[in-house]
Subunit: 463 residues, 2 copies
C-alpha cells in the first residue's frame, strides 16, 4: 500500500484530481507496448505545470519513490513499465505547443504534445517536422525524445535526436537544467541535450523541448515495386542506396506481412508477391521526377515484376496507410506479437533478410518481416502465444539469434525502439563491459538514490 501521507503531499502539489491510487487506475499503467510482465505502480500522478512537476520529482527523490514518466505508453522495449510501489507520472496535462517560430524554424513544446499534432501544426505553416515513428498519431514528443524514436523517414531525414535543439529538464532534486538553444549552432557547455535524448527517463524529467523544423519539401512521389523473390527485393534496397539516391522512405514488406496487411486494410496489395518495396522520393519537383525514374529503372533491372507509381496524393496516402497498418495487421493473427528492430549497415540488408528467414525455420516460429530497409532497420515480427511455454522458449532463442546475427554484420541491437528492460541484458554483447560501467557511473552520479526509472537501459547492476 502506497503511504497515505505521501498521497496527501502529492495531492497538495497537484490537486486531488491529478492523483490516482485506486486499483483500476494502477493496473491501467502497469504495462506498455512491449511484451513484458506488467508491474503495478503505487500511485499515478498528473502534473499540469512545470513547477508542480519539479516538486513531484523532488518529493519522489526525498522519499525514495521510483518515478517512471509515461507519455502514451507506445514504447516497445519496456521503458514505461513502472516499479512496484513506484510512481507513474503522466505528461498528458502538459500538452501545449508553446511556440512555432516560422522565421527561425523551431518549435518549443511541452513533453505531452502528440507527435502528429506538432507535425500537422507546422505543416500548416509550410514547415516540416520529419521524425515519424509508427505510433505518431498517439505517441508524445516527450516519449519520442526519451526513446530517440525513429520512423519511416530516418533514411533521409534522421531520427528524433537530429531534431532536438535544446531541453529544459528537472534533475533528481527538482532543479531545472537548461541545455541547448534556440539557435541552430550551439557549442556552449556539455551537450547534455545529446545525453538526454534516448536516456529513457533515467537521468531527468523533461519540462520543455526545443525542436528543429525544416522547410516542407515541395513535392513527393511514392511507388510500390513488386518482386517474386525476396532476395531480389532486398538486393534492390542495397542497389538504390549504392546509386546515391536517398529516398525519403524505402520500406520492405515480405509475403507474410503483405497478406496480413491486405487482409486487414484491403488496399489491393498483390498477395502473391514474395516481397514489396514501398519507396518515396521528395524534394524539388524536377529532382523528384528524375529520382523516381532512376528508382524505377533500378527496380526493373533488379527484377521487379511490376512498379506502380501513386498517381495522386490520395493513392500515395493509401500506400503509407497500408504500410503503417502492418503492425496492427500482424497483431491480429496471434495472441502475442514481438516486434524487433535490430539494425544493420544498409548494404547488409539482403544477408539479414535471409538470416531472419533461416532463424524462423530453425526455431519453427512465424516471423513476418517488414520495415525501414533503406536505413538497415528491419522489423522482424514474431507471432506467437506467450502462454505456450515451449514455443516461447524457442521465440527467446530466436530473438537472441537475430541479435547475434545483427551484431555479426556490424549492426546494433536497436535502431529505434530503445534498450529499456527488453534489451538491457544484451547490451554488453554490443558495447562491452567498459561502456556499461561508464554509463552506470553517470547514472549513479546524477541519480544517487536510483529513483529515475531504475533498471532501464543499463540494468540494475552495481557500479
Amino acid at each position: 500500500m502506497f503511504p497515505r501521507t505521501l498521497i496527501k503531499e502529492f495531492q497538495s502539489i497537484l490537486g486531488k484530481e491529478n492523483v490516482f491510487a485506486n486499483e483500476a487506475d494502477l493496473v491501467t499503467y502497469s504495462y506498455d507496448a512491449a511484451v513484458l510482465d506488467p508491474v503495478v505502480p503505487g500511485v499515478v500522478l498528473r502534473s499540469q505545470t512545470g513547477e508542480a512537476l519539479g516538486k513531484v520529482v523532488k518529493l519522489c527523490n526525498e522519499n525514495g519513490i521510483p518515478l517512471t514518466v509515461r507519455g502514451t505508453g507506445t514504447n516497445l522495449s519496456g521503458g514505461t513499465i513502472p516499479l512496484p510501489e513506484g510512481a507513474v507520472v503522466l505528461t498528458n496535462g502538459m500538452n501545449r505547443i508553446l511556440e512555432i517560430n516560422e522565421q527561425d524554424m523551431y518549435a518549443v513544446v511541452q513533453p505531452g504534445v502528440i507527435t502528429a499534432k506538432l507535425a500537422g501544426s507546422v505543416e500548416a505553416k509550410g514547415l516540416f517536422y520529419p521524425p515519424d515513428p509508427g505510433s505518431q498519431t498517439v505517441s508524445t514528443l516527450g516519449g519520442n525524445v526519451a526513446e530517440n524514436a525513429g520512423g519511416l523517414r530516418g533514411l533521409k531525414y534522421g531520427v528524433t535526436r537530429d531534431y532536438v535543439m535544446g531541453l529544459q529538464f528537472f534533475d533528481v532534486n527538482g532543479d531545472l537544467v537548461k541545455t541547448g538553444s534556440r539557435t541552430v549552432k550551439c557549442a556552449t557547455g556539455y551537450n547534455l541535450t545529446g545525453l538526454m535524448v534516448g536516456s529513457e527517463g533515467t537521468l531527468g524529467v523533461f519540462n520543455e523541448i526545443i525542436l528543429k523544423l525544416i522547410p516542407l519539401p515541395a513535392s513527393q512521389k511514392a511507388m510500390v515495386a513488386v518482386f517474386n523473390e525476396m532476395d531480389r527485393a532486398s538486393e534492390t534496397v542495397a542497389a538504390i542506396i549504392a546509386s546515391h539516391i536517398v529516398p525519403a522512405t524505402l520500406e520492405f514488406m515480405d509475403n507474410f506481412t503483405i497478406r496480413a496487411v491486405e487482409d486487414f486494410s484491403h488496399v489491393g496489395l498483390p498477395t502473391d508477391a514474395a516481397a514489396l518495396l514501398l519507396v518515396e522520393v521528395d524534394g524539388h519537383p524536377v529532382q523528384v521526377d528524375e529520382e523516381a525514374q532512376k528508382v524505377k529503372d533500378i527496380c526493373r533491372k533488379m527484377g521487379a515484376t511490376s512498379i506502380r507509381v501513386a498517381k495522386d496524393a490520395e493513392e500515395r496516402d493509401k500506400v503509407w496507410e497500408a504500410r503503417r497498418s502492418a503492425l496492427s495487421a500482424l497483431a491480429k493473427l496471434k495472441p502475442t506479437l514481438v516486434l524487433e528492430d535490430a539494425t544493420v549497415p544498409r548494404s547488409k540488408i539482403p544477408e539479414m533478410v535471409r538470416a531472419i528467414q533461416d532463424i524462423a525455420k530453425e526455431y519453427d516460429i512465424s516471423i513476418g518481416t517488414f520495415g525501414h530497409a533503406g536505413d538497415g532497420n528491419l522489423h522482424p515480427t514474431i507471432l506467437t502465444d506467450r502462454r505456450n511455454e515451449k514455443e516461447w522458449e524457442r521465440v527467446e532463442s530466436a530473438i537472441a539469434a537475430i541479435f547475434d546475427k545483427a551484431l555479426g554484420l556490424g549492426g546494433t541491437l536497436s535502431g529505434e525502439h530503445g534498450t529499456g528492460i527488453a534489451k538491457s541484458c544484451f547490451l554488453e554483447k554490443e558495447t562491452g563491459r567498459a561502456t556499461i560501467v561508464y554509463s552506470q557511473r553517470i547514472k549513479a552520479a546524477l541519480d544517487p538514490n536510483n529513483i529515475l526509472n531504475p533498471g532501464k537501459i543499463i540494468g540494475t547492476g552495481p557500479v
Copy 2:
C-alpha cells in the same frame, strides 16, 4: 620538473622518440589559437597506437597527471591549453583513415586525421563530409569532435555533432568505451556519442571516430551581393531564411572586414561597400538555378547595389578563398585578435549586427564583423593589443556586452568555438546554476581524480 621515473614509464610505452620534455618542445605546446596566457606543460607525448594511448591515459590517472589531448591547436576557446606540469598528448601519430564505406556512406578515422584530408578523400568517391570549420586545412577530426566544430555550411548541413555516428574512446582508467554504430539508426544504450561531442577532452580520450557521409550535391552556385548599408545586408539574411530557402552557405562581411580581406587577398572585393553577402546554393541543378534566382530577387528587393554570380568553379573558389582568408587578413592589422562567436536566432541578425557596432563605439575599440549570418553565428572580431592594459580592459567589457546582448536576444555564448577556458566563467549566465552542477556531477563521476583536461567548460569549482 616532471618526474624522471614517469618520463621513463612513458618512454617504455611510447618509445623514446615519442616523449618530449625539453624546454623548446614544452613551450611549443603551451598555447593554442585563443588569446589566453600560455601554460607550459611538463611533458609532451605522442602515441602511434590506440593500445599505447589507453596505457598513457591509465598511467596519467594513476599518477594524477593532468592530460590535455591536442590535435593541431586551432582551438579558439583555450580547450587545448595544458595544465602546469601536465601532459600534452598529440594525436598526429594516429592519423589514418581506417575505412571509407561507399555503400553504407560512413568513414572510420583515427582522431589525428586532418579534416580537409577526409573531405577530399570522400569527395573523390562522390561522397560529402560537410562540416567545414575555418581551420579545416589544418584542424583534426578529433579536435573537431571534441569541440563540436561548426563552419560555413552549418546552415544547411549542420555541424560536426550531426555527423558523428559512433565513437571508441578510453575512459580515465584506460578502458575502451564503444558507443554508437555504423548504422544510421542506433538507439542502443545511452547516447554517449552525443555527450562526448563537444566535451573538450574532459570525459575521455578518442581512439576511433565513425562519421556519417552523404551524397555529394550535384551542383552549386555562388554569388556575392553588395550593399551600401549594413542594415540592408543583415535584413536580407533574415529575408532569405524567411523565404524558406536554405542556402549551403550565407556569409556576411562588414566594410572593415572587406577592406582587410581585399588588402590581403586581392580578389577584387568592392572596398567601398558597407557590407557583402556571400551566398552559395547547392543541390539538383534545376533547384540550384531556381534558388539562385530567388536569392538574387530578394537581394535586389532588399536594396543590393550589385549581385555577381560566380561564372565557374574557379571564380566560385575565389569567393570562398576570400571569405576563408578573413581571419588571417584581420589578424595582420593588430598584434592581438579576439574572435568571438556568440550566436543568435537567425531572425535577430540585424539587431545583433547593429548592437556590435554600438558596442564598438561605446567601448572605443575596433571590431570587424563577418561570419555565418545564415545560422545566426557571427564572428565579431576585436582588433587590439593585449599589452595596452587600458584598451584590454575595454575589450573585456565589450566582450561581456556582446555576450549579454546575444543572450538577451535568445542566443548562446558560443555557436562553434566551444566553452573552453575563455567562456567557462560566463556559462552560468546562459544556463543557470543547476546545469553547471549537473555537468560537474558527470565530470566528477567519470574523472574522479580530475585529470582529463581539467578546468575546461565547467571551470574548476567544487561539486
